[in-house]
Symmetry: C2
DNA sequence: GTCTATACATCGATAGAC
DNA sequence: GTCTATCGATGTATAGAC
């Protein structure tokens, strides 16, 4: 790891923070330079353009998420457990790439039209397919409701997980693991109160089934 | 309603569409002018600045939502029903102001720092308080779970509702009313399948309780 | 009311000294 | 590798003719 690589990483992470905080178009290369302690022109020694910084940022994040999703799927658990693991994994990756997640969330529409970001688009389609297949498997084996379109449930759980980066502080009193359990618990079992023992013990998705030991 | 007012409305709605589609900073006043069939300079006969267009757009939307929320609260129903009505109302207002909702979602971070948008900020705080009070009332009277922080549930349901404008097409085969019922049903009762009759009939939030007749 | 023309700032990016 | 200096494009907004 040479010193030049460190600078490159610093530019990358600083730009990510600014893009996420103030928006992609509202962030100028001069602001990035100021934040890393370089003049804007010097950035072009490391990156050919502002868009190249964005592209590398998102590609890294989406690659990371695909690798982690593949591990979850390889465990070959039942749909409800797989869904729970996808939530946990997504929150973990978001914690490792906090800004990239927000950038993709906020600037997604822009990148769908932008040429040169096809790689980002196909990676995003992969992610969607992963979620959808698990949800459809659960509908097929009877562990999930069939009266809700899989795409609708996919949107709800994906938005809940992905948007949590906007308000959740991983280092606060409400840890990421607890958030993952609460999201899974609400979306699978519901928020309405119910008496203990009102569900059959052999229920495939009892409230504790998807809590880690 | 003079002809000038019509033009003003056209500029407002056109700008809203562009802001929502391509992003606030990615939209130029020239593009707005082109879209309404005016030269960019002529826009300044109707509005003092680009930001003034944005401000009026969001203020109208947030005012509309506050009026409608007040009506829902005035009905003074039980928490679960009120929550359901807030979901329906939010989706209806989003349908009437489809672009403003998206703009606020996407550009919210920017406006929290921007001076001159204090009115937008206080209106947004009002909206949040409305949801939170209903959720807390439900936790207090025992109809909602107490093991989930109200703020967490608030974020989940708000994000689910507000982000649906990104993917839901009100004029498609999946109508807005159905979406409202499905969101309420999942978030209150859960997505996991369960046998009929596994819940007591006097359950305050049985699956059909918050379905309109 | 709308257009033509343009002021003025700021943007991303480049060239060349050091 | 970083800086100085600056180019050309583009952004918001204005001035004045019509």
């Amino acid at each position: 790891m040479t010193e030049g690589q460190d600078r490159r990483e610093l530019i990358l992470s600083t730009a990510a923070e600014l893009f996420a905080q103030r928006g992609l178009h509202a962030t100028t290369v001069r602001q990035i330079g100021d934040a890393v302690g370089l003049f804007s022109g010097s950035l072009y020694y490391y990156f050919p353009s502002k868009d190249a910084i964005l592209d590398e940022l998102l590609t890294r994040y989406l690659d990371a998420i695909r690798v982690r999703y593949a591990t979850v799927l390889a465990a070959d658990k039942r749909p409800a457990e797989t869904l729970h693991d996808l939530v946990v994994t997504s929150l973990e990756v978001a914690q490792e790439h906090p800004h990239a997640q927000a950038i993709y969330q906020n600037e997604g529409q822009f990148m769908r039209e932008m040429p040169g970001f096809e790689q980002v688009q196909t990676a995003a389609a992969d992610v969607q397919q992963t979620w959808l297949r698990v949800i459809e498997a659960g509908a097929a084996d009877g562990s999930f409701r069939r009266d809700i379109p899989p795409r609708v449930f996919y949107r709800l759980i994906r938005d809940a997980v992905w948007l949590s980066v906007r308000w959740h502080r991983p280092d606060g009193p409400y840890p990421t693991r607890r958030l993952a359990e609460d999201i899974t618990s609400i979306l699978l079992d519901g928020f309405a109160a119910r008496d203990a023992g009102d569900r059959p013990p052999d229920d495939p998705v009892s409230r504790e089934a998807h809590l880690l030991p």
